[in-house]
Structures are given as C-alpha cells and as structure tokens.
C-alpha cells in the first residue's frame, strides 16, 4: 500500500542535505509552510538555495532560516517589504546572494521545470535590467527574453487537506506557488492541516495530483482565522 505520510515535520525534512535547492511555497505568509521551515531550521542544513516569492517576513519562518545563516542564495521576486528586516540586513552586508526574477517569470520557470520544458521566451522584462545578458528573440513582431526552467531538490509547501497518496487541495490564495513547486522538485513535501482517507477528496476538486508529491505531513487543523470554516 502506498503511503507518503511522514509522521512529523522533523521526519519529513530530515534528509535535506547541505547545499540543497529548496523551493518554499507561500506569498508572504499565505501558504508559507511554517512547520516544515521550522523543522528545516532545527535540522541544521546549511548553504541552501531557497526559491520563494519573498525573502521572509518578520522573524519567523523563512526569515528565521535566513537569520540563522543557513541560506547562501535566494531566488525570489519581491524581497523588500516593510517587515523584511532580516533579509535586508544580510543583503546589505553581502552575506546573501539574490537572484531577482519577475513574479510571473518565476512562476513560469517553476512550471516549466515541473513540466519538462527546458526554457521559454517571454515578453516580460524585455529591455529592462532584469533581462541583461539574456538571449532575446523577436517572435511575431514582439521582443522576448529566454528564461530557463527552475527545478529543485526539495519543495516545502502548504496545502489544506491531502491523502496518503499525496493528492492535495488548497485554501484560497494560499495556493499560490504550491502546485507549481510540487511538480518542479525531486522530493515535494506537503504540510496539510488534515490528512483525510483515500476517496474522501473529490477527484474533480484535487488541485495537485499525488504523483507530484513524495511526502505529506499533518501539522494540525489550525486555520488562519479561528472563526472561519472550510
């Protein structure tokens, strides 16, 4: 019987080695897999390359991982925010490498990685500093920039419910990068608020089919707002 269930977040991330590329889901804190990040922090892997839309908020989650000097490089679209002080300090001190990517290009690079597309031409960023040094091509009268696919050794994502086969559903805008990162990583680890029995998820409503997910861990049913249901 297939079971991708990991007994804890600690177990789910225990084999992530130093130097791994790790995609981390979330848009700000929506969809950020905080328990998995905390487990990774405790586990101690360092010299990591992190792929995330942002570069940490406040002092917890991804920001804590950065603050503990575990990250060598971050690939993201929007590092600077009102509460990104940990990233800001490390970046200004030259202790953290930044690869800045337009958000849609970041999403598409991850999608391409998961779909076996080596690269693609996109009009985004043509003529800007973010396209410097990249191959360009005029296609159907419009200028495009060649972008590479992005893959990772691991993805840490947050979904709402899942089953032992790894099928996932998400909650509202917390979906964001989750389905893409799950497909682009060799080992995708999903934390969910509840693991349900096989057959309980409506097959028509499954967003991430289990084939993209290697590990699933239940981290408790705490919803972001205690007053709201599913």
């Amino acid at each position: 019987m297939i079971s991708k269930i990991a007994e804890s977040a600690t177990v789910a991330v225990q084999d992530i080695p130093d130097g791994a590329t790790v995609m981390v889901g979330g848009f700000g804190t929506a969809g950020q897999p905080v328990e998995l990040i905390d487990a990774l922090l405790e586990q101690g892997a360092r010299d990591l390359v992190i792929v995330n839309n942002n570069a940490g908020n406040g002092k917890t989650g991804l920001a804590a991982l950065l603050g503990a000097r575990r990250v060598r490089k971050i690939i993201c679209s929007f590092p600077r925010q009102s509460d990104s002080q940990i990233f800001d300090g490390l970046y200004r001190a030259g202790e953290l490498e930044l690869e800045l990517v337009p958000q849609g290009t970041l999403a598409e690079r991850i999608r391409a990685g998961g779909a076996g597309i080596a690269g693609f031409f996109t009009p985004t960023a043509f003529g800007t500093t973010l396209a410097q040094g990249k191959e360009t091509r005029r296609i159907n009268g419009r200028d495009h920039v060649l972008e590479d696919a992005l893959n990772a050794d691991y993805a840490l994502i947050k979904a709402h419910h899942g089953d032992r086969l790894g099928n996932l559903i998400y909650r509202k805008t917390a979906r964001n990068f989750g389905p893409l990162m799950a497909s682009a990583a060799t080992t995708a680890v999903a934390q969910v608020s509840k693991i349900v029995g096989v057959g309980e998820l409506d097959p028509e409503a499954v967003v991430t089919p289990g084939i993209f997910v290697e590990r699933i861990v239940e981290v408790g049913g705490k919803l972001p707002s205690a007053t709201r249901g599913v």
Binding site: S77, P79, E108, T124, L180
Partner: protein
C-alpha cells in the same frame, strides 16, 4: 475653474473609464483606491496576481483570513463567482492577453509609453519587482495613475525615463491630478484638463509638446 484632482479624485476618474464586464488588476497603493469608485451598475471583475478573480473589498472583523489576501498581502474578501488559481495561471492571464486593464502607479512614464515603477536605481535601494513587469506588458490596456509632478516639482511624464524601466512602450493612458494623457504614436494627447493650467501652460510646466484631443 476647478482645481487639480485629489488622490481620490484621480482614482474616481480612472474608475469612470473601466467598462462593464472588464477584468481588471489594480496595483498596490494609489491604484487600489480605484476599487472604491467603481460604478455599482457595472459588473467588473478584479484580479489579484497572487491567485484570485472576483476579489471583494478589504476584510474587516471576523472576515479577516490570512489565507485570503491581495497582492499587497492585505486580507480581502471573495465575491460570489470568485475563483482561485496558482501563480502560473495567474500570470498567464496577464501575459496571455486575457486581462483587459491594469492600473499601475509610476515613478515616471515616457511619452512613448515606457514605464518606470519598480526601482529607484539608488545604490542602497534593495530591488524588488514582484509582478510589476508582468503586469506592464501583459494587460490589453495599461493605465497609470500618478501625480504629474514630484514634490520637487519635476514632471513625471518625460521624454525618456531616467529610472530603471519596468516595460517598454506599454502604457496607454496616464491619469494625473492635472490632466488625462493618451499616449499615441509619437504624440501625447490631452483628453481632459483638471487644474488651473491651460494647455499652453501645461506644455510649459511639463516641457512636452502636447495636443488636445481633436474635436468630435
């Protein structure tokens, strides 16, 4: 004569130009204000690039749910008919030409429609682009809403942008406190004037060659 428009006045003016049935993305900051003035008799669907169509007003009280936020990471609400999707679909809606209008703020816009709104280029500034470049080149029409002059009195509608570019030739219309400008082939057409300036005075203040919209 009426004075220049307030920020609410500018947002209200943009809202008037968003037609029934439009799919619209409103950028962070001043563009977000446009949602307060959308005519209630038009069905307009708001897109937020973090993965939702049918975004409702900002959430209050018990509605606040940090799984439901807008691009500025502010908790919002969902309207009947809303949908959620992942980031690649969300940006495909822009790049693929499905989104009718996006409304963006700007540091500068050039007369040929170049947009600079993501980075001041300052040496100590930490760059952050988010969805700005995708929005700039993706929507069918790009509206910019901004004050025409900086606090130091420099015109933000310029011959050539000096700030780092977000997109080339992508802006269609610029809504400012003093006028609405349509950017066309090698010409800037003033569609409306709000402030005390005449067209000639506006030309002098902006240093640009302007044209009035031809009389119908």
């Amino acid at each position: 004569m009426k004075g220049a428009l307030s920020r609410d006045g500018m947002a209200s003016r943009v809202a008037q130009d968003i037609p029934e049935g439009a799919y619209v993305n409103l950028g962070i900051g001043l563009p977000t204000k446009v949602s307060n003035f959308l005519p209630s008799d038009r069905e307009i669907i708001l897109h937020t690039e973090n993965g939702m169509l049918g975004m409702g007003p900002v959430a209050t009280g018990d509605e606040i749910d940090f799984d439901l936020v807008n691009a500025g990471k502010i908790p919002v609400t969902e309207l009947p008919g809303a949908s959620y999707f992942h980031q690649a679909d969300s940006f495909g809606m822009m790049r693929g030409g499905h989104l009718d209008i996006c409304v963006l703020g700007a540091f500068q816009v050039s007369t040929s429609g170049d947009l600079a709104n993501w980075h001041t280029g300052g040496e100590d500034a930490i760059p952050a682009v988010g969805g700005a470049m995708d929005l700039a080149i993706g929507a069918k029409q790009v509206f910019v809403i901004m004050e025409l002059f900086t606090r130091d009195g420099h015109c933000k509608l310029v011959e050539d942008c000096t700030y780092p570019l977000t997109g080339i030739g992508c802006v269609n219309t610029v809504y400012t406190d003093h006028a609405v400008f349509d950017l066309g082939e090698k010409r800037v057409v003033v569609r409306e004037l709000f402030g005390e300036f005449t067209l000639e005075q506006l030309e002098e203040k902006t240093g640009l060659r302007l044209q009035f919209e031809s009389v119908r």
